[in-house]
Symmetry: C2
Subunit: 188 residues, 2 copies
């Protein structure tokens, strides 16, 4: 079974080393790893054409994969990396199993509450809203309900692990646990 390894670690200076580590762990767990970057857009392409070609290559890699493990650690803000989330949705739309992990143990509601500095209020319908009047999801979830739901409703799990701040995108504890759970459920 082939697993697509999605996550914002592609933006790290040592992306290659981390991806190689994930690839090695994936093989050890009994799966065939597929990574963004396994195929590259033609070197001659520049600018937006290169971005579009990279998207096409990554989609082709996803189409060759049987399930996904997504790194949902908050990225440049309080939510998961949107590139990774697109890929999670893409694989779920194809009907594939999905697993996720996050290196921030604090849940979605708490992160949004802190984003608003705790200034929350209940409206007449008991919806909880920030000072900008936007509603908060009050469920015990890792991120927006479409992400948690997409994974859990397909029988997957999202592993939460509080990584050290300097290992936010390199700590693979949650990833390893995803591999172990996926191996029990999908192999054998």
């Amino acid at each position: 079974m082939k697993v697509y390894l999605a996550g914002p670690e592609v933006f790290l200076p040592n992306a290659r080393a981390i991806l190689d580590e994930k690839i090695e762990l994936t093989r050890l767990a009994g799966f065939v790893p597929v990574c963004p970057g396994d195929l590259e857009a033609p070197a001659s392409l520049r600018g937006k054409a290169r971005g579009l070609a990279t998207s096409e290559v990554n989609e082709r890699l996803m189409l060759s994969s049987d399930f996904i493990i997504a790194n949902l650690t908050p990225f440049r803000g309080i939510a998961a990396d949107v590139g990774t989330v697109y890929e999670l949705g893409f694989m779920c739309g194809r009907g594939c199993p999905a697993y996720g992990f996050t290196n921030v143990a604090v849940g979605h509601f708490e992160r949004v509450r802190d984003y608003y500095g705790g200034e929350l209020a209940e409206d007449a319908h008991k919806a909880v809203r920030g000072p900008d009047s936007l509603e908060l999801e009050t469920y015990d979830m890792v991120d927006n309900l479409m992400l948690d739901g997409g994974i859990e409703n397909r029988g997957g799990v999202i592993v939460r692990h509080a990584a050290a701040p300097d290992a936010l995108y390199t700590d693979l504890t949650g990833f390893k646990e995803c591999l172990a759970i996926a191996a029990r459920r999908l192999l054998g």
Copy 2:
């Protein structure tokens, strides 16, 4: 043809009014509108079970739709709402056409640059990185390349429109333009 209307306007206090306006515009353009919330999770469900059931309902609505128009306006930070992005990926993974709009005209690169207060540096391989060493995509795109690529590589477009700050999630100029473009390409 049925179109799934994705976007963070579901979090507005006047969500129902905005969704009704989108529904009306969609019918006028010749499409059948499908909205998150058209079906609701059973009222008896509470907490996380309710969140998971809502995800399931929304996925069922997407499976009944032929294409998507996604509101990619940045939400609680510099990137699109991750719930909407999951839905965009989901529909693209099913092979459906996709259109998007944003009410912030400033592009992805510029938003990330501003997030870093302009403190960018080129590494030895000419990759542009923030002070946290994470790489920036330097393409002229609305958001992460998977979003722009997913839409444009399927023949869709992302309409950019600079809405007034107090109409960030209610201005439907870009949405109307998406409907007009989709009608020309998909109908008739």
